[in-house]
Amino acid sequence: MTVYRKLVRDNIAALRNWRVWWHLGMADVRNRFAKSAVGPMWILLNLAMWVGGMGLIYGTLFNQPLTTYLPFLTIGFVCWGFLSQTIIDGGNAFVFAEGYIKQFIYPKQIYVLRVIVNASVPFAIGVAIFFAVFAWMGQPFGVGMLWVLPGLLMLLLASYLHATIMAYASARFRDLPHGMTALLQVLMFVTPVFFTVGTLKARGLDFVYKYNPLYYLIEIIRHPLTKLEAAPTEVYVASGIYLAILALLAVFVSMRLDRRIVYLL
Protein backbone atom coordinates (compact mmCIF):
# COMPACT_ATOMS: atom_id res chain seq x y z
CA MET A 1 0.00 0.00 0.00
CA THR A 2 2.94 2.33 0.35
CA VAL A 3 3.16 2.50 -3.43
CA TYR A 4 -0.49 3.55 -3.49
CA ARG A 5 0.12 6.24 -0.89
CA LYS A 6 3.12 7.52 -2.81
CA LEU A 7 0.99 7.72 -5.96
CA VAL A 8 -1.73 9.71 -4.20
CA ARG A 9 0.91 12.01 -2.75
CA ASP A 10 2.65 12.42 -6.12
CA ASN A 11 -0.61 13.19 -7.92
CA ILE A 12 -1.54 15.84 -5.37
CA ALA A 13 1.97 17.32 -5.42
CA ALA A 14 1.88 17.41 -9.22
CA LEU A 15 -1.47 19.21 -9.26
CA ARG A 16 -0.22 21.75 -6.73
CA ASN A 17 2.81 22.50 -8.89
CA TRP A 18 0.48 23.68 -11.63
CA ARG A 19 2.85 26.42 -12.67
CA VAL A 20 5.43 23.91 -13.83
CA TRP A 21 3.21 21.81 -16.07
CA TRP A 22 1.24 24.80 -17.24
CA HIS A 23 4.46 26.44 -18.34
CA LEU A 24 5.83 23.30 -19.99
CA GLY A 25 2.55 22.61 -21.79
CA MET A 26 2.11 26.16 -23.06
CA ALA A 27 5.73 26.23 -24.17
CA ASP A 28 5.02 23.03 -26.16
CA VAL A 29 2.18 24.80 -27.94
CA ARG A 30 4.35 27.79 -28.78
CA ASN A 31 7.11 25.48 -29.88
CA ARG A 32 4.79 23.60 -32.23
CA PHE A 33 4.09 26.75 -34.14
CA ALA A 34 7.53 28.31 -33.89
CA LYS A 35 8.78 29.72 -37.19
CA SER A 36 5.44 29.02 -38.83
CA ALA A 37 4.08 32.03 -40.62
CA VAL A 38 0.47 31.18 -39.89
CA GLY A 39 1.17 30.03 -36.31
CA PRO A 40 -1.69 28.85 -34.12
CA MET A 41 -4.07 29.91 -36.89
CA TRP A 42 -3.27 26.48 -38.29
CA ILE A 43 -5.59 25.03 -35.68
CA LEU A 44 -8.37 27.10 -37.22
CA LEU A 45 -7.39 26.35 -40.81
CA ASN A 46 -7.06 22.65 -40.14
CA LEU A 47 -10.49 22.55 -38.57
CA ALA A 48 -12.03 24.67 -41.31
CA MET A 49 -10.67 22.35 -44.02
CA TRP A 50 -11.86 19.21 -42.31
CA VAL A 51 -15.25 20.49 -41.37
CA GLY A 52 -15.75 22.26 -44.67
CA GLY A 53 -14.74 19.26 -46.76
CA MET A 54 -16.32 16.54 -44.66
CA GLY A 55 -19.40 18.66 -43.97
CA LEU A 56 -20.21 19.08 -47.63
CA ILE A 57 -19.53 15.47 -48.60
CA TYR A 58 -21.09 13.66 -45.66
CA GLY A 59 -23.88 16.19 -45.27
CA THR A 60 -24.94 15.51 -48.86
CA LEU A 61 -24.29 11.79 -48.56
CA PHE A 62 -26.53 11.42 -45.52
CA ASN A 63 -29.03 14.11 -46.52
CA GLN A 64 -28.22 16.21 -43.45
CA PRO A 65 -29.24 19.87 -43.32
CA LEU A 66 -25.97 21.79 -43.07
CA THR A 67 -27.39 24.17 -40.47
CA THR A 68 -27.39 21.40 -37.86
CA TYR A 69 -24.81 19.08 -39.39
CA LEU A 70 -21.90 21.54 -39.53
CA PRO A 71 -22.03 22.46 -35.81
CA PHE A 72 -22.45 18.76 -34.96
CA LEU A 73 -19.43 17.84 -37.04
CA THR A 74 -17.31 20.71 -35.67
CA ILE A 75 -17.76 19.94 -32.00
CA GLY A 76 -17.48 16.19 -32.54
CA PHE A 77 -14.25 16.62 -34.43
CA VAL A 78 -12.83 18.97 -31.81
CA CYS A 79 -13.63 16.50 -28.99
CA TRP A 80 -12.16 13.66 -31.01
CA GLY A 81 -8.97 15.65 -31.57
CA PHE A 82 -8.61 16.23 -27.85
CA LEU A 83 -9.21 12.58 -26.98
CA SER A 84 -6.80 11.23 -29.56
CA GLN A 85 -4.07 13.81 -28.95
CA THR A 86 -4.03 13.15 -25.21
CA ILE A 87 -3.92 9.39 -25.78
CA ILE A 88 -1.08 9.48 -28.31
CA ASP A 89 1.00 12.23 -26.67
CA GLY A 90 0.34 10.62 -23.30
CA GLY A 91 2.25 7.61 -24.58
CA ASN A 92 5.32 9.77 -25.06
CA ALA A 93 4.93 11.77 -21.85
CA PHE A 94 7.58 9.89 -19.87
CA VAL A 95 9.71 8.78 -22.80
CA PHE A 96 10.25 12.36 -23.98
CA ALA A 97 10.82 13.59 -20.42
CA GLU A 98 13.62 11.09 -19.79
CA GLY A 99 16.23 13.83 -19.38
CA TYR A 100 14.11 15.49 -16.72
CA ILE A 101 12.97 12.35 -14.93
CA LYS A 102 16.55 11.15 -14.52
CA GLN A 103 17.82 14.33 -12.97
CA PHE A 104 15.01 16.24 -11.28
CA ILE A 105 12.83 15.00 -8.49
CA TYR A 106 9.42 16.32 -9.46
CA PRO A 107 6.55 13.84 -9.40
CA LYS A 108 6.35 12.29 -12.87
CA GLN A 109 2.67 13.23 -13.17
CA ILE A 110 3.62 16.75 -14.19
CA TYR A 111 4.69 15.34 -17.56
CA VAL A 112 1.23 13.81 -18.00
CA LEU A 113 -0.45 17.09 -17.07
CA ARG A 114 1.81 18.87 -19.53
CA VAL A 115 0.30 16.75 -22.30
CA ILE A 116 -3.21 17.70 -21.18
CA VAL A 117 -2.32 21.42 -21.24
CA ASN A 118 -0.77 21.05 -24.66
CA ALA A 119 -3.94 19.44 -26.05
CA SER A 120 -6.28 21.83 -24.26
CA VAL A 121 -5.22 24.83 -26.31
CA PRO A 122 -6.43 23.49 -29.69
CA PHE A 123 -9.48 22.14 -27.87
CA ALA A 124 -10.37 25.55 -26.44
CA ILE A 125 -9.84 27.20 -29.83
CA GLY A 126 -11.98 24.48 -31.39
CA VAL A 127 -14.84 25.09 -28.96
CA ALA A 128 -14.70 28.81 -29.75
CA ILE A 129 -14.88 27.96 -33.44
CA PHE A 130 -17.86 25.72 -32.75
CA PHE A 131 -19.70 28.70 -31.24
CA ALA A 132 -18.88 30.75 -34.30
CA VAL A 133 -20.17 28.04 -36.65
CA PHE A 134 -23.24 27.58 -34.48
CA ALA A 135 -24.05 31.29 -34.67
CA TRP A 136 -23.26 31.44 -38.38
CA MET A 137 -25.71 28.63 -39.06
CA GLY A 138 -28.37 30.63 -37.23
CA GLN A 139 -28.80 28.11 -34.43
CA PRO A 140 -30.30 29.31 -31.14
CA PHE A 141 -28.13 29.70 -28.03
CA GLY A 142 -29.54 28.89 -24.58
CA VAL A 143 -28.86 28.35 -20.89
CA GLY A 144 -29.08 24.60 -21.44
CA MET A 145 -25.60 24.80 -22.95
CA LEU A 146 -24.25 25.05 -19.41
CA TRP A 147 -24.80 21.30 -19.14
CA VAL A 148 -21.52 21.14 -20.99
CA LEU A 149 -19.65 21.90 -17.75
CA PRO A 150 -20.07 18.51 -16.03
CA GLY A 151 -19.26 16.99 -19.42
CA LEU A 152 -16.04 18.97 -19.67
CA LEU A 153 -15.00 17.82 -16.22
CA MET A 154 -15.59 14.18 -17.16
CA LEU A 155 -13.75 14.59 -20.47
CA LEU A 156 -10.73 16.15 -18.75
CA LEU A 157 -10.65 13.42 -16.13
CA ALA A 158 -10.93 10.71 -18.77
CA SER A 159 -8.08 12.26 -20.74
CA TYR A 160 -5.87 12.49 -17.65
CA LEU A 161 -6.52 8.81 -16.98
CA HIS A 162 -5.97 7.87 -20.64
CA ALA A 163 -2.69 9.78 -20.71
CA THR A 164 -1.57 8.32 -17.37
CA ILE A 165 -2.19 4.75 -18.53
CA MET A 166 -0.47 5.42 -21.83
CA ALA A 167 2.51 7.16 -20.21
CA TYR A 168 3.27 4.27 -17.87
CA ALA A 169 2.44 1.44 -20.24
CA SER A 170 4.36 2.97 -23.17
CA ALA A 171 7.53 3.32 -21.13
CA ARG A 172 7.35 -0.46 -20.83
CA PHE A 173 5.99 -1.25 -24.31
CA ARG A 174 7.34 1.23 -26.79
CA ASP A 175 5.09 -0.08 -29.55
CA LEU A 176 2.01 1.18 -27.79
CA PRO A 177 1.92 4.78 -29.11
CA HIS A 178 2.35 3.49 -32.67
CA GLY A 179 -0.39 0.92 -32.19
CA MET A 180 -2.75 3.47 -30.68
CA THR A 181 -2.13 5.91 -33.53
CA ALA A 182 -3.19 3.24 -36.02
CA LEU A 183 -6.14 2.14 -33.89
CA LEU A 184 -7.44 5.67 -33.36
CA GLN A 185 -7.42 6.34 -37.10
CA VAL A 186 -9.82 3.46 -37.54
CA LEU A 187 -11.83 4.33 -34.44
CA MET A 188 -12.47 7.82 -35.77
CA PHE A 189 -14.60 6.36 -38.51
CA VAL A 190 -16.54 3.98 -36.29
CA THR A 191 -17.27 6.58 -33.63
CA PRO A 192 -20.16 8.90 -34.43
CA VAL A 193 -18.04 11.91 -35.31
CA PHE A 194 -19.09 12.13 -38.95
CA PHE A 195 -22.25 10.04 -38.70
CA THR A 196 -25.17 11.06 -36.59
CA VAL A 197 -26.71 8.48 -34.32
CA GLY A 198 -29.88 8.69 -36.39
CA THR A 199 -28.02 7.74 -39.57
CA LEU A 200 -26.45 4.72 -37.89
CA LYS A 201 -29.73 3.57 -36.33
CA ALA A 202 -31.50 3.76 -39.66
CA ARG A 203 -28.93 1.37 -41.12
CA GLY A 204 -28.99 -1.04 -38.19
CA LEU A 205 -25.47 -0.10 -37.10
CA ASP A 206 -26.33 0.75 -33.48
CA PHE A 207 -23.47 -1.35 -32.15
CA VAL A 208 -21.00 1.12 -33.62
CA TYR A 209 -21.73 3.63 -30.90
CA LYS A 210 -23.50 1.58 -28.22
CA TYR A 211 -20.37 -0.22 -27.09
CA ASN A 212 -17.99 2.63 -27.84
CA PRO A 213 -16.96 4.53 -24.69
CA LEU A 214 -15.45 7.36 -26.73
CA TYR A 215 -18.89 8.05 -28.21
CA TYR A 216 -20.27 8.75 -24.73
CA LEU A 217 -17.35 11.03 -23.85
CA ILE A 218 -18.04 13.07 -26.99
CA GLU A 219 -21.79 13.07 -26.43
CA ILE A 220 -21.54 14.61 -22.92
CA ILE A 221 -20.06 17.67 -24.63
CA ARG A 222 -21.85 17.63 -27.96
CA HIS A 223 -25.39 17.04 -26.78
CA PRO A 224 -25.64 20.04 -24.40
CA LEU A 225 -23.96 22.33 -26.89
CA THR A 226 -26.06 21.41 -29.91
CA LYS A 227 -29.39 20.54 -28.26
CA LEU A 228 -29.25 23.04 -25.33
CA GLU A 229 -30.16 20.39 -22.76
CA ALA A 230 -28.52 17.71 -20.61
CA ALA A 231 -27.49 14.58 -22.47
CA PRO A 232 -29.69 11.49 -21.85
CA THR A 233 -29.08 9.88 -18.47
CA GLU A 234 -27.64 6.71 -19.98
CA VAL A 235 -24.89 8.77 -21.62
CA TYR A 236 -23.77 10.04 -18.21
CA VAL A 237 -24.08 6.59 -16.67
CA ALA A 238 -21.99 5.02 -19.43
CA SER A 239 -19.35 7.76 -19.13
CA GLY A 240 -19.27 7.30 -15.36
CA ILE A 241 -18.79 3.53 -15.66
CA TYR A 242 -16.05 4.04 -18.22
CA LEU A 243 -14.30 6.56 -15.94
CA ALA A 244 -14.42 4.10 -13.05
CA ILE A 245 -12.88 1.36 -15.21
CA LEU A 246 -10.20 3.77 -16.45
CA ALA A 247 -9.40 4.85 -12.89
CA LEU A 248 -8.95 1.25 -11.78
CA LEU A 249 -6.75 0.52 -14.77
CA ALA A 250 -4.69 3.67 -14.18
CA VAL A 251 -4.13 2.75 -10.52
CA PHE A 252 -3.19 -0.79 -11.52
CA VAL A 253 -0.75 0.23 -14.24
CA SER A 254 0.90 2.99 -12.25
CA MET A 255 1.22 0.85 -9.12
CA ARG A 256 2.87 -1.87 -11.14
CA LEU A 257 5.26 0.44 -12.93
CA ASP A 258 5.81 3.58 -10.84
CA ARG A 259 9.02 2.42 -9.20
CA ARG A 260 10.34 0.92 -12.42
CA ILE A 261 9.80 3.85 -14.79
CA VAL A 262 13.20 5.42 -14.28
CA TYR A 263 14.87 2.07 -14.97
CA LEU A 264 12.81 1.51 -18.12
CA LEU A 265 13.69 4.82 -19.75
Binding site: N31, Y100, K102, Q103, F104, I105
Partner: protein, 256 residues
Protein backbone atom coordinates in the same frame (compact mmCIF):
# COMPACT_ATOMS: atom_id res chain seq x y z
CA UNK B 1 10.90 21.85 12.47
CA UNK B 2 11.96 18.86 10.47
CA UNK B 3 15.46 17.51 10.88
CA UNK B 4 17.25 17.06 7.62
CA UNK B 5 18.59 13.58 7.09
CA UNK B 6 19.40 10.88 4.58
CA UNK B 7 18.91 7.33 5.71
CA UNK B 8 19.66 4.23 3.66
CA UNK B 9 19.10 0.72 5.01
CA UNK B 10 20.36 -2.30 3.08
CA UNK B 11 19.77 -0.48 -0.17
CA UNK B 12 20.28 -2.45 -3.36
CA UNK B 13 19.82 -1.31 -6.94
CA UNK B 14 19.65 -3.73 -9.85
CA UNK B 15 19.54 -2.69 -13.47
CA UNK B 16 17.84 -5.28 -15.61
CA UNK B 17 19.49 -4.77 -18.97
CA UNK B 18 17.68 -7.80 -20.36
CA UNK B 19 14.31 -6.13 -19.84
CA UNK B 20 15.65 -2.96 -21.35
CA UNK B 21 16.90 -4.83 -24.41
CA UNK B 22 14.08 -7.07 -25.58
CA UNK B 23 11.51 -6.74 -22.85
CA UNK B 24 10.59 -3.42 -24.35
CA UNK B 25 9.11 -4.89 -27.45
CA UNK B 26 5.72 -6.49 -27.50
CA UNK B 27 7.24 -9.42 -29.37
CA UNK B 28 9.82 -10.00 -26.66
CA UNK B 29 7.16 -9.73 -23.98
CA UNK B 30 4.82 -12.19 -25.69
CA UNK B 31 7.68 -14.61 -26.33
CA UNK B 32 8.47 -14.35 -22.63
CA UNK B 33 4.88 -15.23 -21.75
CA UNK B 34 4.80 -18.23 -24.03
CA UNK B 35 8.03 -19.86 -23.04
CA UNK B 36 8.19 -20.59 -19.36
CA UNK B 37 11.96 -20.64 -19.43
CA UNK B 38 13.41 -17.65 -17.58
CA UNK B 39 14.76 -14.96 -19.83
CA UNK B 40 18.52 -14.88 -19.99
CA UNK B 41 19.24 -12.51 -17.16
CA UNK B 42 21.51 -9.58 -17.71
CA UNK B 43 21.26 -7.96 -14.33
CA UNK B 44 23.79 -5.50 -13.02
CA UNK B 45 23.88 -4.87 -9.32
CA UNK B 46 24.87 -1.24 -9.06
CA UNK B 47 24.43 -1.15 -5.28
CA UNK B 48 24.57 -4.03 -2.83
CA UNK B 49 23.13 -3.64 0.68
CA UNK B 50 24.37 -0.14 1.29
CA UNK B 51 23.53 1.31 4.71
CA UNK B 52 24.30 4.96 5.44
CA UNK B 53 23.03 7.65 7.78
CA UNK B 54 23.75 11.28 6.98
CA UNK B 55 22.67 13.92 9.49
CA UNK B 56 22.20 17.68 9.24
CA UNK B 57 25.48 19.54 9.01
CA UNK B 58 27.46 16.64 7.59
CA UNK B 59 29.59 16.93 4.49
CA UNK B 60 30.14 13.55 3.00
CA UNK B 61 32.49 12.69 0.17
CA UNK B 62 32.17 9.69 -2.13
CA UNK B 63 35.20 8.10 -3.72
CA UNK B 64 35.70 5.02 -5.82
CA UNK B 65 36.56 3.91 -9.32
CA UNK B 66 34.32 4.53 -12.30
CA UNK B 67 31.35 2.22 -12.04
CA UNK B 68 31.73 1.78 -8.29
CA UNK B 69 28.17 3.01 -7.73
CA UNK B 70 28.77 6.61 -6.68
CA UNK B 71 26.37 8.16 -9.16
CA UNK B 72 23.72 5.54 -8.53
CA UNK B 73 24.02 6.12 -4.79
CA UNK B 74 23.51 9.86 -5.27
CA UNK B 75 20.44 9.23 -7.41
CA UNK B 76 18.99 6.95 -4.75
CA UNK B 77 19.57 9.67 -2.15
CA UNK B 78 17.82 12.17 -4.43
CA UNK B 79 14.81 9.88 -4.78
CA UNK B 80 15.31 9.48 -8.52
CA UNK B 81 16.13 5.77 -8.36
CA UNK B 82 13.77 3.91 -6.05
CA UNK B 83 15.89 1.15 -4.48
CA UNK B 84 15.09 -2.35 -5.72
CA UNK B 85 15.92 -3.67 -2.23
CA UNK B 86 16.01 -2.05 1.18
CA UNK B 87 14.70 1.33 2.25
CA UNK B 88 15.87 4.84 1.38
CA UNK B 89 14.50 7.93 3.07
CA UNK B 90 15.55 11.53 2.51
CA UNK B 91 14.07 14.38 4.53
CA UNK B 92 14.59 17.88 3.15
CA UNK B 93 14.55 19.73 -0.14
CA UNK B 94 17.08 18.09 -2.41
CA UNK B 95 19.04 20.01 -4.98
CA UNK B 96 20.62 17.55 -7.40
CA UNK B 97 23.55 18.53 -9.60
CA UNK B 98 24.04 15.46 -11.70
CA UNK B 99 24.12 15.86 -15.42
CA UNK B 100 24.61 19.08 -17.23
CA UNK B 101 24.23 17.66 -20.69
CA UNK B 102 20.61 16.42 -20.61
CA UNK B 103 17.23 17.83 -19.78
CA UNK B 104 17.06 20.68 -22.24
CA UNK B 105 14.34 21.79 -24.63
CA UNK B 106 16.50 21.99 -27.69
CA UNK B 107 14.26 24.16 -29.83
CA UNK B 108 13.77 26.81 -27.20
CA UNK B 109 15.90 29.75 -26.28
CA UNK B 110 18.43 29.88 -23.49
CA UNK B 111 16.10 32.15 -21.51
CA UNK B 112 13.28 29.68 -21.79
CA UNK B 113 15.54 26.83 -20.70
CA UNK B 114 16.71 28.81 -17.68
CA UNK B 115 13.08 29.21 -16.67
CA UNK B 116 12.18 25.56 -17.14
CA UNK B 117 15.26 24.30 -15.34
CA UNK B 118 14.76 26.69 -12.46
CA UNK B 119 11.15 25.56 -12.13
CA UNK B 120 12.16 21.92 -12.12
CA UNK B 121 14.65 22.70 -9.37
CA UNK B 122 11.77 24.04 -7.31
CA UNK B 123 12.08 27.80 -7.76
CA UNK B 124 8.94 29.92 -7.71
CA UNK B 125 8.24 32.20 -10.70
CA UNK B 126 8.88 35.37 -8.67
CA UNK B 127 12.21 33.95 -7.46
CA UNK B 128 13.10 33.14 -11.05
CA UNK B 129 12.26 36.67 -12.18
CA UNK B 130 14.39 38.05 -9.38
CA UNK B 131 17.37 35.87 -10.24
CA UNK B 132 17.07 35.78 -14.02
CA UNK B 133 19.46 38.64 -14.72
CA UNK B 134 22.05 37.29 -12.31
CA UNK B 135 21.86 33.79 -13.80
CA UNK B 136 22.18 35.16 -17.33
CA UNK B 137 25.08 37.31 -16.27
CA UNK B 138 26.92 34.43 -14.64
CA UNK B 139 26.44 32.16 -17.65
CA UNK B 140 28.24 34.77 -19.81
CA UNK B 141 26.16 33.55 -22.74
CA UNK B 142 25.06 37.06 -23.67
CA UNK B 143 23.15 37.19 -26.92
CA UNK B 144 23.32 33.41 -27.27
CA UNK B 145 20.55 33.25 -24.68
CA UNK B 146 18.19 34.43 -27.40
CA UNK B 147 19.08 31.48 -29.61
CA UNK B 148 17.61 27.99 -29.40
CA UNK B 149 19.90 25.84 -27.28
CA UNK B 150 20.34 23.27 -30.05
CA UNK B 151 22.89 25.70 -31.44
CA UNK B 152 24.95 25.50 -28.23
CA UNK B 153 28.25 23.78 -27.74
CA UNK B 154 28.75 21.35 -24.85
CA UNK B 155 30.58 24.00 -22.87
CA UNK B 156 27.67 26.39 -23.28
CA UNK B 157 25.21 23.77 -22.02
CA UNK B 158 27.34 23.31 -18.95
CA UNK B 159 27.50 27.04 -18.31
CA UNK B 160 23.76 27.42 -18.60
CA UNK B 161 22.89 24.44 -16.41
CA UNK B 162 25.54 25.28 -13.85
CA UNK B 163 24.41 28.90 -13.57
CA UNK B 164 20.82 27.85 -12.94
CA UNK B 165 21.52 24.98 -10.59
CA UNK B 166 23.82 26.95 -8.33
CA UNK B 167 21.31 29.78 -7.97
CA UNK B 168 18.84 27.80 -5.85
CA UNK B 169 19.02 27.69 -2.06
CA UNK B 170 19.78 24.08 -1.34
CA UNK B 171 18.96 22.19 1.86
CA UNK B 172 20.46 18.93 0.75
CA UNK B 173 22.99 19.28 -1.98
CA UNK B 174 23.88 16.18 -3.97
CA UNK B 175 26.71 16.73 -6.34
CA UNK B 176 28.13 14.36 -8.89
CA UNK B 177 31.39 15.90 -9.87
CA UNK B 178 32.28 12.90 -11.97
CA UNK B 179 29.29 13.50 -14.24
CA UNK B 180 29.03 17.24 -14.44
CA UNK B 181 31.12 19.53 -12.40
CA UNK B 182 34.27 17.88 -13.68
CA UNK B 183 33.88 20.07 -16.73
CA UNK B 184 33.67 23.05 -14.48
CA UNK B 185 37.23 23.49 -13.54
CA UNK B 186 37.11 25.72 -16.63
CA UNK B 187 37.06 29.01 -14.82
CA UNK B 188 38.14 30.38 -11.51
CA UNK B 189 34.76 32.07 -11.34
CA UNK B 190 32.93 28.76 -11.46
CA UNK B 191 35.14 27.41 -8.71
CA UNK B 192 34.38 30.35 -6.46
CA UNK B 193 30.67 30.02 -7.07
CA UNK B 194 30.77 26.29 -6.48
CA UNK B 195 32.44 26.82 -3.14
CA UNK B 196 29.87 29.41 -2.07
CA UNK B 197 27.13 27.09 -3.15
CA UNK B 198 28.53 24.10 -1.30
CA UNK B 199 28.84 26.21 1.82
CA UNK B 200 25.10 26.87 1.74
CA UNK B 201 24.00 23.24 1.72
CA UNK B 202 22.99 21.98 5.14
CA UNK B 203 23.84 18.50 3.99
CA UNK B 204 26.35 17.93 1.26
CA UNK B 205 27.10 14.64 -0.47
CA UNK B 206 29.75 15.02 -3.08
CA UNK B 207 31.35 12.49 -5.38
CA UNK B 208 34.75 13.35 -6.71
CA UNK B 209 37.96 11.93 -8.04
CA UNK B 210 39.84 14.84 -6.56
CA UNK B 211 41.15 13.71 -3.19
CA UNK B 212 42.26 17.28 -2.43
CA UNK B 213 38.74 18.63 -2.85
CA UNK B 214 37.37 15.89 -0.63
CA UNK B 215 39.91 16.56 2.09
CA UNK B 216 39.09 20.23 1.93
CA UNK B 217 35.29 19.94 1.99
CA UNK B 218 34.25 16.73 3.65
CA UNK B 219 34.71 15.68 7.23
CA UNK B 220 33.47 12.23 6.33
CA UNK B 221 34.12 10.11 3.28
CA UNK B 222 32.59 6.91 1.94
CA UNK B 223 34.65 4.70 -0.31
CA UNK B 224 32.56 2.69 -2.75
CA UNK B 225 33.71 -0.32 -4.72
CA UNK B 226 31.60 -2.63 -6.91
CA UNK B 227 28.41 -1.28 -5.39
CA UNK B 228 29.47 -1.83 -1.79
CA UNK B 229 30.67 0.47 0.94
CA UNK B 230 34.34 -0.40 1.51
CA UNK B 231 35.00 2.15 4.22
CA UNK B 232 33.05 4.95 5.87
CA UNK B 233 34.75 7.32 8.27
CA UNK B 234 36.82 10.47 8.69
CA UNK B 235 38.05 11.71 5.32
CA UNK B 236 41.76 11.50 6.11
CA UNK B 237 41.61 7.87 7.17
CA UNK B 238 39.40 6.76 4.27
CA UNK B 239 41.41 8.66 1.67
CA UNK B 240 44.58 7.05 3.03
CA UNK B 241 43.09 3.57 2.86
CA UNK B 242 41.83 4.26 -0.67
CA UNK B 243 45.26 5.48 -1.78
CA UNK B 244 46.96 2.42 -0.32
CA UNK B 245 44.48 0.17 -2.06
CA UNK B 246 44.96 1.95 -5.39
CA UNK B 247 48.75 1.81 -4.99
CA UNK B 248 48.61 -1.84 -4.05
CA UNK B 249 46.62 -2.61 -7.16
CA UNK B 250 48.92 -0.77 -9.50
CA UNK B 251 51.94 -2.35 -7.81
CA UNK B 252 50.48 -5.78 -8.46
CA UNK B 253 49.75 -5.12 -12.11
CA UNK B 254 53.26 -5.60 -13.57
CA UNK B 255 53.60 -8.90 -11.74
CA UNK B 256 50.33 -10.23 -13.14
Amino acid sequence: MKTLSISLKDVGVKFDLGAAADGHTLKGFLAGLKSRAPRPSNVIEALKSVSLEVKAGERVGLIGHNGAGKSTLLKVMAGIYPPTAGVAKTVGHVCPLFEFATGFEYNRSGWENIRIRAMLLGMRPDEIDAKLAEIADFSELGKFLDYPVRTYSTGMFVRLAFAVSTSVNPEILLLDEVMGAGDLSFTEKANVRMREFMDQGKILVFSSHSLDLLTEYCNRTVWMDHGRVMEDGPTNAVVKAYKNHALGRSAMLPAA
